[in-house]
């Protein structure tokens, strides 16, 4: 018998904070590292208090419980501290490092993909690198070209890295717990537009397994695989379509690496149609990867061409009307579904 845990309504941001607190309580080797994740280091009146608790307040309150030796403010030195997190993970700690915006990966990519992600392989299976790198993604706040990208496709491409893209508060909590407990290098992509979104979140310390998709809405007519915030856009589109008699099944892969191939293929086998919705850029992307998966292994089940609804092949623009054009909208998603019905 499965006993459902009691739930409370929380924001995505609070759910992440709760997962960090649980992980730090259960394992003394879990440390947090990042720029201003507490803030105010060496300020006399903030010895055991935070100035910011992260630029968005996600880590607020943790330094009070765990102290500055476990909630480590770093200088603005991404190669330095992400590399230190990788080195610490290889030698016995379980660090959770915060790369403030994923767009900053250029400053530290060597330490992620050339070092941490390859150690186990290059060393013949004799190393572990249990580091989680939390990072913000997503357009929608007019943060412009260097603070708004998604880029999880880049990391999904790379062996040795796991990629987690939660879309709800409950998923954020459960997946972050699993990410931190995981013995591999995990990139955990938090959509900044979702930080204030609310949902029911289970109490307790249960993790959600990495590699298990979630069917966010059941339907028989078309499969919409949507990633991160695009799950919400797809669910809105699905309601519009339902009023027209089209029942969409909305699948949230929740992790892009590993990817739950079977849930996607089974859904397409039922609906015979696939639309992938992805806010990342469209070339060599998670969307094209999922399309290729179904074209390769589910071609015979398809009754229509696979369609992708993605951001354009541009950086993220600043001006609000341009940014709104950039992000896939429920209207665009619904239009594309109608095209293939």
């Amino acid at each position: 018998m499965v006993v459902e845990a009691a739930t409370r309504t929380m924001t995505y941001q609070q759910a992440i904070n709760e997962a960090l607190r649980i992980a730090m309580r259960e394992d003394p080797t879990v440390i947090l590292m990042g720029e201003d994740i507490a803030g105010g280091a060496m300020v006399d009146h903030l010895i055991n208090d935070d100035a910011w608790g992260g630029p968005m307040g996600v880590t607020k309150g943790l330094v009070q419980e765990f102290g500055r030796n476990r909630v480590l403010d770093t200088p603005i030195t991404e190669a330095g501290f992400i590399g230190a997190a990788v080195g610490a993970a290889t030698t016995g700690l379980r660090p959770v490092a915060e790369l403030m915006f994923v767009d900053f990966f250029g400053c530290c990519m060597d330490q992620i993909y050339d070092q941490g992600a390859k150690f186990r392989y290059m060393f013949g299976g004799k190393a572990r690198c249990p580091v989680t790198i939390r990072t913000q993604i997503g357009a929608g706040l007019s943060a412009a070209g260097q603070h708004s990208g998604c880029h999880y496709s880049v990391f999904t491409h790379m062996p040795g890295i796991k990629c987690v893209v939660p879309s709800t508060p409950a998923d954020a909590k459960g997946l972050l717990l699993s990410a931190i407990r995981d013995d591999d290098l995990v990139m955990f992509f938090e959509n900044k537009v979702l930080y204030g979104s609310k949902g029911e979140v289970p109490e307790g310390d249960e993790g959600i397994p990495l590699g298990k998709a979630d069917i966010k809405r059941a339907g028989d007519d078309v499969t919409i695989v949507a990633i991160s915030r695009m799950v919400n856009q797809a669910l809105i589109a699905a309601e519009t379509l339902a009023a027209e008699g089209i029942e969409a099944e909305v699948i949230d892969p929740r992790t892009l690496s590993p990817l739950d191939d079977e849930t996607i293929l089974q859904s397409v086998a039922k609906t015979h149609r696939l639309v992938v919705v992805d806010e990342d850029n469209p070339r060599c992307s998670a969307a094209t990867d999922i399309a290729a998966l179904v074209a390769d292994r589910g071609f015979d089940t398809l009754d229509a061409p696979i369609k992708l609804v993605t951001a354009p092949h541009t950086p993220v623009p600043f001006s609000p009307p341009l940014e709104a054009f950039y992000v896939p909208s429920p209207e665009r998603i619904a239009d594309v579904v109608r095209e293939i019905m």
Partner: protein, 329 residues
């Protein structure tokens, strides 16, 4: 001061002979690797450490498995000095399944985390933040360990060098940054590529000790490292140690080394650290010529056997390509 006349001669006979043997192991390993690379037995790229033995041995002889090192593309010497199995290393160079990394790393990625060896590294400067992380582990878990970070003169121009030194300084990490300045970053002389006359001067920017040492004098290296390691273990933070050294081979095997003169190479070979140590041990009646020659012979014979074994060992099965990417997936 001539080589091998500095302090550290107070070391006991066993330690001194062990250091001599390690240095000879490295030299013999590298000479044989050079020969066997030319004979086509080693795939890929090989960067030989011969000439720089005093640095790895002078430092690693003071470390235990509880201490970590990070290394470079020129990492064979660090591995041997840190105690990584030599036969497994020979097999690794050949890409055999009996290699320490099952043939999946090769010369540039040999590692043995259990021995505290966090990997040779194909990225110049790539190991510097990693060493800070290993030191952070030692500090956080209070293991008493230190991290020694080996890198070359070329790496001192990478951002990771500056980020790592700053991070270690502000967090007071037990790390010893060891710049092996062999005069050349690939084919480019240090006088061109580096703004500082001594790379150790760069420590000043981070307000940590910066020490220049003769990297061809194992005792001088030992002494300088002793202080830096003690400082790190005391909790007094990092040191930048610059060992002025020289590589007897080119940047990689196949390098025609047109960027330096034969006279320059000869001048350094006249100061060969192993010869200097050998002479010092004999002059001071610590060991006889015969005893040292017996060590030389024993090392050669053991390595010869390692090559025989490695040649006979199987290559990994093709399916092995697909393993060890993740702990679980």
């Amino acid at each position: 001061m001539s080589a091998a006349t500095a302090g550290a001669i107070d070391l006991d006979r066993e330690t001194l002979l062990s250091m001599y043997e390690r240095m000879v192991q490295i030299r013999t390993f590298e000479d044989q690797a050079g020969t066997n690379f030319a004979a086509g037995l080693i795939p890929g790229f090989v960067h030989l450490y011969a000439g720089e033995e005093a640095v790895a041995v002078g430092i690693c002889s003071q470390l235990s498995d509880n201490d970590y090192i990070t290394s470079t593309h020129r990492g064979h010497g660090h591995c041997i000095a840190k105690g990584v199995d030599i036969s497994g290393r020979v097999a690794e160079l050949m890409g055999k399944s009996t290699g320490v990394c099952k043939g999946k790393g090769g010369s540039m990625h040999i590692a043995d985390v259990e021995k505290g060896m966090l990997g040779a590294n194909g990225i110049v400067g790539g190991g510097i933040p990693l060493a800070c992380g290993a030191a952070l582990t030692a500090k956080t878990l209070n293991t008493g360990g230190v991290a020694v970070c080996f890198f070359g003169d070329g790496a001192s121009n990478q951002g990771t060098f500056h980020e790592g030194l700053n991070l270690a300084a502000i967090w007071n990490l037990p790390v010893i940054f060891v710049c092996e300045n062999n005069g050349y970053a690939e084919a480019t002389p240090v006088r061109y590529h580096c703004s500082a006359s001594d790379i150790a001067n760069r420590a000043g920017s981070y307000e940590i000790p910066g020490v220049v040492v003769d990297g061809l004098d194992v005792f001088a290296v030992y002494e300088a490292a002793r202080e830096a390691i003690a400082r790190a273990r005391r909790g007094d933070g990092p040191t930048l140690l610059e060992a002025k050294t020289y590589r007897f081979y080119g940047h990689f095997q196949g390098d025609q080394v047109t960027y330096r003169t034969a006279d320059e190479l000869d001048s350094y070979k006249k100061r060969d650290a192993i010869v200097s140590l050998r002479n010092a041990l004999i002059e001071r009646d610590i060991a006889s010529e015969e005893e040292l020659s017996a060590i030389d012979s024993r090392v050669s014979a053991a390595l010869d056997q390692s090559w025989v074994d490695a040649k006979a060992a199987p290559f990994p099965e093709p399916e092995e390509t697909l393993t060890d990417v993740y702990v679980s997936y």
